[in-house]
């Protein structure tokens, strides 16, 4: 399949540092030929629901067109909590929305599947984009984001994102998040360290070491836990949304995993901030995602009538660990390539400009592997990320600013300063999701969405650093809208009336009612929500 490791490492050593080389194939052909979104037979056309007729990966389509694990009788007599704003999801977007809504005077209940903070946010490494450089502008950030997304994004959402950028950074600093400063800069009046994310026309990536998401999440988690007016429920995943007799979202049914019972929450407004779906392992890829990323929010919003967009578009991060097997899929941050680490095939050649957009770089790596120029080690195939040449060019960089990478290499049993890492693309991000407007409202009254669960912002490919910015910018927008909406009409006659229509739609299309979603945990978590209800997990 590939070239054996021993031969490949000799080729790498002979050529290091390998000379840059242009990508030979034209981009559209490269993507069509090698990007996993285009694999033959991978997509299915949705038959039921608001996005019927749209293509969707088979793994996700099965869940979107599944039945609820709940029946009317399951919620009869269930304890009912009451709040102004219900936030579902305890990652970055959820915490930002909860904080904003609570500070606007709303009573907030934040429910999360694992613990508050356990999410993809904490795993984000590279950084957060905001156009603060003198040579940079909001317009350039706007155009870069649209171009990277192949012009499929909603311009109003992108404009909202980029214009919120600088103020989002100020807000984060006020919440106690630190940022790296330029070499020798002072904390007061200095300038921020800026790196260039793949596909950008200016250095715009702000960071904290290479664990920017951890730094962001630990500040936001403390802020949320200390904020008066927010009640948090850990280990309470949402299994269904509630509606009232006018079709308004009226809250959610949560599964209390500790006690094995259903709890209902009635709310004036509901914010879905449930993140993505990497743990569905679309196209059989390993994933860099958090354990809880199982598309729950997409399933719940879709069943309630919210259309999705670009759900056939996923981001495969170019540099996941390919070897050793027990670390497969773990992420090597794009910060390594922004700092100058090269990708090298088994012949010792570079084959792509490393800072092209992620879909291009990922497809180029998959092409090397498919055409036999990959490196094979213990049955795992990938290409080299040349960290030793980077360390040689910039002594000390691995220990100083690529901390997470160095830690990962040590766990792989190698010294990143002496031996290159073996990498290949890993399933990283859900580019599409629930369609929203710039105020984070969906077409379903009372239902708002923020963060990775939403679609329209990234088009068909997300730029590095726009995910962390998205969760702050749109988390704040969602929190403000939810607090305002919750002051309006309260839901009445709350229940599961929407499920009757949904089941009828499934039956009309000949879809099975036996499949239940959301799944809450990936299959290898040895947990099935349907029989587990009524039993503590």
């Amino acid at each position: 399949m590939g070239i054996p490791y021993a031969r490949a490492i000799d080729a790498w050593r002979a050529a290091a540092p390998a000379a840059p080389q242009a990508c030979a194939l034209a981009v559209p052909e490269l993507l069509r030929g090698f990007h996993p979104d285009h694999r033959p037979g991978g997509m299915r056309v949705l038959r039921a629901g608001a996005s019927a007729g749209s293509p969707c990966p088979a793994e996700l389509a099965d869940l979107l067109q599944a039945d609820s694990p709940l029946e009317d009788v399951d919620i009869a007599g269930a304890p009912m909590l009451e709040t102004d704003v219900l936030v579902i999801g305890g990652g970055g977007a959820g915490c930002v929305a909860a904080l904003t809504a609570a500070r606007a005077g709303a009573r907030v209940l934040l429910a999360t599947k694992l613990r508050i903070g356990d999410s993809n946010t904490v795993m984000a490494e590279g950084g957060i984009q905001a156009a603060v450089g003198a040579e940079d502008s909001l317009q350039r950030h706007f155009e870069d984001t649209l171009r990277a997304g192949h012009f499929a994004a909603d311009k109003a959402l992108v404009a909202a994102l980029v214009s919120d950028g600088p103020d989002a950074i100020r807000w984060l600093i006020q919440e106690g998040m630190s940022f790296d400063l330029a070499e020798g800069a002072q904390r007061m009046g200095g300038t921020l360290l800026r790196k260039t994310p793949g596909g950008a026309s200016a250095a715009r990536l702000l960071s904290y070491r290479d664990f920017t998401g951890l730094e962001l999440m630990r500040a936001l988690r403390e802020a949320t836990l200390l904020q008066p007016g927010i009640v948090t429920l850990d280990r309470h995943p949402a299994v269904e949304l509630l509606t009232d007799d006018r079709g308004r979202c009226a809250g959610a049914a949560l599964q209390d995993l500790g006690r094995g019972r259903t709890v209902l929450v009635r709310s004036g407004a509901t914010v879905l901030a449930t993140g993505g779906s990497g743990r569905l392992h679309v196209a059989g890829f390993p994933t860099s995602n958090h354990y809880g990323a199982t598309a729950d929010g997409l399933v719940l919003a879709y069943r309630l009538g919210a259309p999705l967009r670009e759900v056939d578009s996923f981001q495969y991060h170019p540099t996941g660990i390919a070897w050793p097997r027990h670390l497969e899929g773990a992420l090597v941050s794009e910060a390594a390539r922004s700092s100058g680490a090269a990708l090298v095939n088994a012949l010792g050649h570079r084959f792509v400009e490393e800072l092209r957009p992620r879909d291009v770089v990922a497809a180029a790596i998959l092409r090397e592997i498919a055409e036999g120029r990959g490196v094979e080690r213990d049955g795992c195939t990938g290409v080299f990320l040349d960290t030793p040449s980077l360390e040689q060019a910039t002594p000390g960089i691995l220990g100083r600013s690529l901390v997470t990478l160095t830690h990962l290499a040590r766990r792989a049993g190698i010294d990143a300063a002496a031996e290159p890492l073996l990498v290949r693309p890993t399933l990283h991000y859900q580019n599409g999701g629930v369609a929203i407007d710039p105020a984070c409202r969906t077409v379903v009254p009372g239902l708002l969405c923020a963060g990775e669960v939403t679609g329209g912002l990234h088009g068909r490919n997300r730029m590095m650093g726009n995910a962390l910015l998205e969760l702050v910018a749109f988390g704040r927008r969602a929190g403000a809208s939810a607090a305002a909406d919750a002051r309006g009409e309260r839901p009445r006659n709350v229940g599961l009336t929407h499920l009757a229509d949904w089941r009828r739609a499934l039956i009309v299309q000949g879809l099975p009612l036996g499949r239940k979603a959301p799944v809450i945990f990936p299959a290898y978590g040895n947990f099935d929500i349907a029989p587990a209800r009524g039993r503590a997990a």
Partner: protein, 223 residues
Amino acid sequence: MADISTLAEPVRFVFDGHAIETGVRTSLLQAWVGAGLPLTENVGCMGQGVCGACRVLVRRAGERLACTALACETLAEPGMQVSFLDHFPASRPHAYDLRALTDSWTAIDRIDAVFPEAKNCRHCSGCDRACPKGIEVQRMVNLAAAGQALAAADLFDHCVMCNLCVAACPEHIDPAHLGQFVRRMTASLTLRPSDLIMRLHEIEEGRQPIDPDAPGANPLVAP
């Protein structure tokens, strides 16, 4: 740690009372899942080592004392005894409002006001031994108690908030939260980047307009 990379035999160990058999180079978390046991808590980032959710108590074969670790970062070894440690929030919340800290002259006094137990440190170093990241927790507590906020904050750069030091501290100092407090306080009070401030002024004054119809905001039309 025993060198297990050369072992061909399956690794047998006990995890929360379950006798588990697994392959070499398998993390404790992977071994748990591989044994068919339900994983609905004590899990987060699945191996990146940033979430601090998979805390375990580990006693290795032949050792008398147990130590704390993260299950995603620790490989299974023959004869190990392992148990998950439940999530334990700080027993007494040290409440503060960062946004009310507007007078930086009195900010350092707030460390003692919010975390009065910090000065009671017994120097037992239980927190240092509990930390799976090798952070000098006790030194941070002592620096913070002495008002040296920046030096204390630096020591907690790599903290993942697993709260194992919180559980270990007999004085209820809540070191992880103290560390987070000094880190947040120093960032919010002292970080004032000029480039960010300039850009915010430009936006307020309307000097950063966005033109959705600019040539760069639309696909190239083939000639």
